[in-house]
Assembly symmetry: C2
Homo-oligomer: 340 residues x 2
DNA sequence: GACTGGCACTCGCCGATCAGGAGTGCCAAC
DNA sequence: GTTGGCACTCCTGATCGGCGAGTGCCAGTC
């Protein structure tokens, strides 16, 4: 049996009311607060069908109805109208992201902004190295046998790494190495560098070969292999809103999951450009997060992607609002990065 | 009235039992589990005195006793024997801190180690810029009017900042600026740099004055004025151990406080070298943390201080254990930094 | 056929009540 | 100063009944 318009309207009303009040919603309350144009008895019949179809359920006999994950899903896919940001929110975003000092600052501000606007836990990934290009490589002699390698990416990320050389190395050699490395690698996407780095070693004069090989190893290791993703978290305190009712009684597993960067990266990764992805309840692959929902998006200058961001909260969350906010923040962040 | 040895022994037993069981401890249970050599009636008398003096209290009439903050304080100051680390713990520390890749890695590992060993929330501050010296300043041209300023400190911290120049700047000028800046500033403690930077500007040839002034502004701003401290947090999930009983019913305020870097810095700052500081309950100045205790220490190569670290948990915590762990980790971390 | 008012029924919630038990304070005796 | 004993307190957990929100169903109406 397919659901007619009114039943969908009832579902929407249930979701909205439940999200707002956090209490099971009954047929009587529904007709009072929404102009459905029918009596509570009719709504009850509709509810029975919706329950039959698995979109809502009763916590116990003779209690109101609560949306199921399937209900939220339907709501998000077909029922929620896009909620435009309020001017105040727009202003907040612009003010918050104005005049950042450096990349850390940008990410820091963004994540706090996101947490504040959505009142959920916010996650922002730093621009991914894998998706960055080399802007410049700097070699700074620290001692006669040690060089600090500093890589500056076009996304603003700066990575450094200490390189232990096999033997003493003259300042002139450092200059030469720097020139060569930059000549070859500057402007290249990090993902494309491995063969180029290898070529660098091969092209080297025998007496410099050892040093260069050493440098190359660290280069590859740092920039590509353990291409570490970084991210920032904010708003964990928001998990405690609404008592311990959400999250089936315990914050524990959620907090634990939030400590694992790998998990977080998975959560906010792999989203098509300019879209928003919503994972509801056990659509999350992580067991500890079966009681949460995640709204995530990708960001980057223009239509490219350099990283992801998102918010996490109870399945009982304001999806339209959060989706709008996440999308807007992602776009602002992309624009901001494009400016540099 | 002063407390005789047995009363102190009773207090210690109460603290130890309460920390272990998280339940008010009664006179009967005490004599059973500790060899006090007296009857429960005697212990009851002692308890009455201890309560009189404010070291323990009853949650309600006819319940066991619970230590007060004053009781914990006395316990920490006079009653707790130093608990040496187990070989397993030592090994864990050594394994955890072996072969770090860079400073981020060091801090990251340290904070997770601390959280894991103490089963509390751990905080580790990055080496403070204010206490670092300049090892090298690098100027990397990004475009004709933009330079990226990279500062490498002796503590391993690397800070970068984009400098917008008043006009186009030639590569030769960059080289010259770099030479001058390093000549003057390398090896200097950051705190001492402001007059030196000013001198740099004054010494400049008029045609380079503008550029140098611009650079100087950013230098001062980045390195000294908004000398930003960074830190890392781990183990927030540990707050949920022991139900919501600790923290007077709500994690909320605690989680909120943990989001404020300023607060965290205050918590773990200002500790004498080679000592450990313990703040119990409302000895903390932060209202949100009145229900928590903090064990903190400073670290640095040798006897110097470059940063702080610590753990935070319920007042009902294993003080001797946590003190030992914090101290040990601080020392290992200091040694590790000394090696570089 | 869809909607509505009415009504009996279910069942969680809340407060009251009560027994059990852990723990105390006090006192007399040693 | 210490101890055994005893009356007392009061928290905990279980039980119970009334209340009320909410439902499902049915007969009647448009």
């Amino acid at each position: 049996m397919s659901l007619d318009d009114r039943k969908l309207e009832v579902l929407r009303a249930i979701v909205e009311d439940y999200v707002a009040t956090q209490e099971p919603v009954g047929s009587k309350a529904l007709v009072e607060r929404h102009q459905l144009g029918v009596s509570s008895a009719t709504v009850r019949n509709d509810m029975a069908v919706l329950e039959e179809e698995g979109y809502i359920r009763q916590p116990h006999t003779s209690a109101g109805r609560v949306p199921t994950n399937a209900g939220y899903r339907l709501f998000v896919d077909r029922l929620s109208r896009v909620k435009p940001l309020s001017p105040a929110e727009r202003r907040a975003i612009e003010r918050f992201l104005a005049d950042p000092v450096d990349l850390d600052d940008v990410v820091h501000r963004t994540v706090r902004l996101l947490a504040q606007l959505t009142r959920q836990v916010a996650v922002v990934q730093y621009p991914s190295l894998a998706r960055s290009s080399v802007r410049h490589l700097e070699l700074v002699p620290i001692s006669t046998t040690r060089i600090m390698l500093v890589m500056i990416a076009d996304t603003g990320r700066v990575e450094q790494r200490l390189v232990e050389m096999p033997g003493p190395i003259a300042p002139a050699d450092v200059t030469e190495l720097r020139r060569k490395v930059n000549e070859k690698l500057a402007g290249q996407r990090l993902a494309d560098t491995p063969p180029l780095v290898q070529a660098l070693v091969d092209d080297c004069s025998p007496e410099r070969r050892g040093t260069m090989a050493c440098l190359a190893t660290v280069l590859l290791e740092t920039l590509v292999e353990r291409s570490e993703e970084r991210l920032m978290l904010a708003g964990t305190a928001n998990l405690t809103r609404g008592g311990v009712l959400d999250f089936q009684g315990s914050l524990r597993p959620v907090l634990e999951a939030l400590e694992e960067e790998v998990i977080l990266l998975k959560l906010i990764g792999e989203v098509e450009p300019s879209t928003t992805r919503v994972r509801i309840g056990d659509e999350n692959e992580i067991d500890n997060l079966r009681s949460t929902s995640v709204v995530s998006a990708s960001y980057g200058p223009g239509a490219t992607i350099v990283g992801g961001l998102g918010v996490l909260g109870p399945t009982r969350m304001d999806y339209p609002g959060n989706i709008a906010t996440v999308r807007a923040v992602a776009r602002y962040l992309g624009d901001l990065l494009a400016q540099n």
